[in-house]
């Protein structure tokens, strides 16, 4: 199908984009890579009256390492992130997840900010940003506000962004030494949405026991879903097959998958258990390396 008519605006500056959004509110949509919004418009599931195209705003596309964090501009495309050396070395969890996001032609357009703002719980990157404990920086005509990843994802396709706000920057912490991460998913076909996916980060103390563990899942509920109880239970523990299995069993109870035509709820939980165990062991090995 074809999109319903709309007014197209291509602002030349962030300030101009924010002014347009403040003026039109819910009637307006920001257009980032368009790989989710344009299909929704073609189906007329989305019919914004005003489309504010951010693709001319080169100032919103960057990756910067600063102190203990990496800052990513919202308009940075997956393709760029996948090839970025800073992401590869300092945000390895994201680098590992990116090749699983759709197909090359989609990754050439899709952006990190667009992905997170779309808040599809089946998508990989919300789970990655949640596992990393990222901070999402929103901008509006009125000012700026920081939102933790935990608070950002509110529901299916719903974020904490107000109707005059734009997600402008994603700030990700760089894990300390003796940390390892792993992203694993099971999809029916390369590039499809995962039936289940896990983003995992493990930090070890000097004695080799877990001092910090993060687990987050995609396609496991209305938002990216964390498993804080399983992560907490591993603290002070050494990771081995037994402790990884126990944590995986706990995590299976913490997620809230819906089930679908390709995977029942039971099967999704089963996958979560298997993937959690494998991801923990892999992240542990990388933390020790």
């Amino acid at each position: 199908m074809k999109p319903a008519p709309f007014r197209y605006a291509a602002p030349a500056s962030l300030e101009e984009a924010l002014a347009l959004k403040a003026e039109h509110g819910d009637e307006a949509k920001f257009l980032a890579g368009g790989q989710s919004l344009v299909p929704a418009m073609n189906f007329r599931l989305a019919q914004p009256a005003v489309l504010i195209d951010l693709n001319g705003l080169d100032a919103l596309a960057y990756v910067k390492a600063e102190g203990g964090t990496v800052r990513i501009g919202a308009m940075t495309r997956y393709h760029t992130l996948q090839r970025d050396k800073t992401i590869g070395s300092k945000v390895a969890l994201m680098a590992e997840a990116l090749p699983e996001v759709a197909h090359p032609a989609i990754r050439n357009r899709g952006t990190l900010g667009g992905n997170l703002s779309h808040a599809d719980p089946a998508s990989e990157l919300p789970a990655v940003v949640l596992a990393l404990g990222g901070t999402l920086h929103a901008r509006s005509k009125k000012g700026a506000r920081a939102i933790t990843a935990k608070d950002f994802f509110v529901g299916v396709l719903t974020t904490a962004l107000a109707n005059d706000e734009l997600l402008a920057e994603i700030e990700l912490p760089v894990f300390p030494p003796r940390s390892g991460t792993c992203f694993l998913e099971v999809a029916r076909r390369k590039g499809d949405y995962a039936m289940m996916g896990v983003a995992c980060a493990v930090t070890l103390d000097a004695g080799g026991a877990c001092s910090d563990v993060h687990l987050a899942y995609c396609n496991a509920g209305e938002t990216p879903v964390a498993a804080p109880k399983a992560a907490q239970a591993l603290k002070g523990q050494r990771l081995d097959d037994k402790t990884a299995r126990d944590a995986a069993e706990m995590a299976k109870g913490e997620i809230r998958p819906f089930g679908n035509v390709h995977a029942s709820v039971d099967y999704q939980r089963h996958l979560a258990g298997v993937l959690t165990r494998r991801a923990l062991i892999a992240a542990y090995g990388r933390a020790r390396a």
Binding site: M1, K2, P3, A4, P5, F6, R7, Y8, A10, G34, Q35, V38, P39, N42, F43, L51, D53, N55, H79, A102, H103, P104, A105, I106, N108, R109, R189, K190, G191
Partner: protein, 158 residues
């Protein structure tokens, strides 16, 4: 309200007035008459409408014509020159890499960019690169063979 766009398609400059909601795929087909770009699903899944935007493959059904001012586009019509097929196109003919041909333009543009970036791909690389393009005739086997053949021929040339 219409928007003026100036762009280059297959080396030729064009300037047109377009309505905001006109998809790039429809602009290429209806406004420029370049019907080699096929329209399948119109939601980014099938890959038939894939074109090269400044050299990289993108879905033309997921962009608006109003967005492409100043850009350079290559469609399947631009892959051959002076009536001579590209090595990839020749390999598709020789290896019987198509049957009905509906998906072929999107596959050719996708794999042209893939081979430029990956001159010596493994079969696994080829299958992964093809995963975003649906073909309902061939079972993909001959498409994979065609891409392999093209890679061999292209890397054999000095």
């Amino acid at each position: 309200m219409s928007h003026k766009v100036s762009l280059t398609v297959n080396g030729t400059a064009h300037t047109r007035e377009v309505e905001a909601r006109l998809l790039l795929s429809d602009f290429l087909r209806h406004d420029l008459g370049l019907t080699g770009t096929h329209v399948g699903c119109e939601h980014g899944v099938c890959g038939a409408c894939t074109i090269l935007l400044d050299g990289v493959p993108v879905r033309s059904c997921l962009m608006f014509a109003a967005q492409i001012n100043g850009k350079s586009i290559t469609t399947v019509e631009g892959l051959s020159a002076d009536g001579k097929l590209s090595p990839l196109q020749e390999a598709f003919r020789d290896a019987h890499g198509l049957q009905c041909g509906y998906c072929t333009p999107g596959i050719l543009t996708t794999m042209t960019a893939f081979l430029a970036e990956t001159p010596k791909p493994s079969e696994g690389d080829i299958r992964e690169a093809l995963s975003g393009n649906l073909c309902r005739c061939t079972g993909y086997q001959n498409i994979v063979d065609a891409v392999k053949l093209a890679a061999e021929r292209m890397s054999a040339k000095p």
